[in-house]
């Protein structure tokens, strides 16, 4: 968690593609208002993230956190901006290749398929991964391999043959996360994937994300919960401004967790691991 010191506390941080894994430049969101007109959610935001980082993104609801992440994955029709991976502009990628590298994980888990195993295999049925599949182990999509991977991810309790709709919220969230993690994205944009989960499941999800960061993925998390000590950097999106805030001390984290802060207020604290 030493890379945090390099970042400055203003929105101008990280312009251009200078060495960062992922950079976003001049990100603007203009939403159509119901009944005509437009609202600008934010304008000209800058952002960057590197492999191994876990960046927490907080801010009041409605401030456009999800919009920002879907803009990064270039899924949002109301946003503009330029985005680059390793300094390469997203326009030089096909949309599919871009999203394979910069994976957005929605807040609600939509698992498609008859069984959990099918749901996890889904990304590998897409054309964009047909070449990648040839390089992977032949049994990568076998039940046994998926089982082993899920076990490693702490999903021992999830039966592969179950219908996705029969899973609990926590299980579905973990399967959805596992599905995306198995595709090995370079940047993982996790949109409040621990929302509505109990402490135990939230903890498991956080562990999985930390593990992905450890393997070199850049992780961006939207969070509303009390800090869990896994972030390496923390940013607040509020009133159209994206600011970097200092990581809280361990004491602040402990206090926040004791208080069991329900909703990550804008100045929510974050710190070093106190559990595990």
């Amino acid at each position: 968690m030493d890379e945090t010191t390099e970042a400055t506390a203003t929105t101008t941080a990280g312009t251009g593609g200078a060495g960062h894994l992922f950079t976003a430049h001049d990100v603007t969101a203009v939403m159509p208002k119901r009944g005509g007109g437009e609202t600008t959610v934010f304008r000209g935001l800058e952002f960057h993230v590197d492999g191994g980082e876990v960046v927490d993104l907080t801010g009041p609801s409605g401030s456009g956190k999800s919009t920002l992440l879907t803009a990064f994955a270039r899924l949002n029709v109301h946003t503009t901006g330029s985005f680059a991976l390793d300094g390469e502009d997203s326009d030089t990628f096909t949309p599919q290749r871009w999203r394979v590298a910069v994976a957005y994980l929605p807040q609600t888990s939509t698992l498609i398929g008859e069984t959990v195993a099918d749901a996890i295999r889904l990304p590998w049925t897409f054309k964009v991964r047909q070449d990648a599949r040839a390089h992977e182990a032949k049994d990568m999509l076998s039940d046994a391999h998926i089982r082993a991977t899920l076990d490693r991810m702490g999903c021992r309790d999830i039966d592969l043959d179950r219908a996705p709709r029969d899973l609990s919220g926590g299980q579905a969230a973990r399967v959805s996360l596992a599905r995306t993690l198995l595709t090995k994205p370079r940047v993982l944009l996790a949109d409040e994937v621990d929302a509505g989960l109990d402490e135990e499941n939230a903890d498991k999800v956080a562990d999985l994300l930390k593990l992905a960061a450890h393997d070199g993925t850049a992780v961006v998390r939207i969070r509303h919960r009390a800090p869990d000590g896994r972030a390496t950097r923390m940013m607040v999106l509020k009133a159209g401004e994206l600011r970097e805030v200092p990581l809280p001390t361990a004491a602040q984290v402990a206090a926040a967790q004791r208080a069991d802060a329900v909703d990550g207020s804008a100045d929510g604290a974050q710190g070093d691991g106190t559990e595990e």
Binding site: V77, P95, T110, K127, T183
Partner: protein, 299 residues
């Protein structure tokens, strides 16, 4: 027409009286359908007779341009009905609907008329026009159903489509479940009709030929060819249209965005619209359009 039993004016009167009696009964029972029953009956009488006179004229003239003109009018009416019935479909589909109808109609005429039946002259109106009508009647319902279903499904699958795109799906891959469900739904009536014909119903065309004194076996052969061709071509029309419109649910960089449904046109708007497009046409064409609907229903 050796053993053909014509219906005289009293036959029509008797049929109308039947409807009036039925309407009287339902008025007594206060079902509230009496008025619309009478109105629909009057419309159907006028529309069918009009179509009869027009066809009689066209057949007597036996002129290739007249046949082509009538078919063109039928096509335009079919496009209009499809757009009117396809709820939830966005604007700007007229060209695509017309294209898929034209393609299937040409296939129908090429295969069924010119390859199987081989009439002389090749444009024999008594064959070509009813054939076109039967095909269009069926395709119009299938297309309208398929279009509505496709856009409805794409709207419902909001979260699913976005999840698939986020996982690297192409537009085609993300839209595929909706396409399949739409084509399946559009084709169901055709399949049901194929399977039930001859057991539950004697289809309209076969009945007509039998009443007209033709051999029931040759009537059956005719009917089968038509049913099979119509079912196959309905699938073709549906596939063409879905393959051409699925992209409408996405914008640049393969982002999911289902366009707003077009404003529903009222019947009055349709007449108005048609006048705008074809200022020299008589409302007589509107009748024919409704008539095709009728035919699609009765068949």
């Amino acid at each position: 027409m050796e053993s053909y039993f014509d219906i005289d004016i009293w036959g029509l009167v008797a049929a109308v009286v039947m409807v009036i009696v039925a309407a009287g009964i339902s008025a007594l029972m206060r079902t509230g359908v009496a008025k619309s029953l009478i109105w629909a009956t009057a419309r159907s009488l006028v529309q069918l007779l009009a179509m009869g006179f027009i066809l009689e004229y066209v057949i007597r003239q036996n002129n290739v341009w007249l046949v082509i003109g009538l078919i063109t009018l039928m096509l335009l009416a079919a496009v209009q009905i499809t757009m009117g019935r396809a709820t939830g479909a966005p604007k700007g589909l007229v060209g695509i609907v017309l294209l898929s109808l034209v393609v299937t109609m040409l296939l129908m005429l090429a295969i069924v008329a010119e390859l199987i039946v081989r009439p002389k002259p090749w444009y024999a109106p008594q064959l070509v026009i009813p054939l076109t009508g039967m095909l269009l009647g069926n395709t119009v319902s299938a297309l309208a159903l398929g279009l509505s279903r496709f856009f409805e499904s794409m709207r419902e699958r909001y979260a699913e489509v976005n999840t698939m795109l986020a996982l690297g799906a192409t537009k085609w891959e993300a839209a595929k479940p909706s396409m399949i469900s739409s084509i399946r739904l559009g084709l169901l009536p055709s399949i049901a009709m194929l399977a039930s014909s001859g057991i539950v119903t004697i289809p309209g065309m076969m009945s007509g030929q039998i009443i007209a004194g033709k051999s029931p076996v040759s009537a059956a052969k005719y009917q089968f060819v038509i049913l099979a061709a119509v079912a196959a071509l309905t699938l073709v029309a549906d596939s063409i249209i879905i393959a051409l419109i699925y992209k409408r649910c996405f914008i640049s960089y393969d982002r999911y965005f289902v366009p707003e449904p077009a404003k529903k046109l009222s019947f009055k708007d349709l007449v108005q619209l048609r006048k705008d497009v074809h200022p020299d046409e008589k409302p007589d064409e509107v009748r024919r359009e409704a008539e095709q609907e009728q035919r699609a229903r009765t068949r």
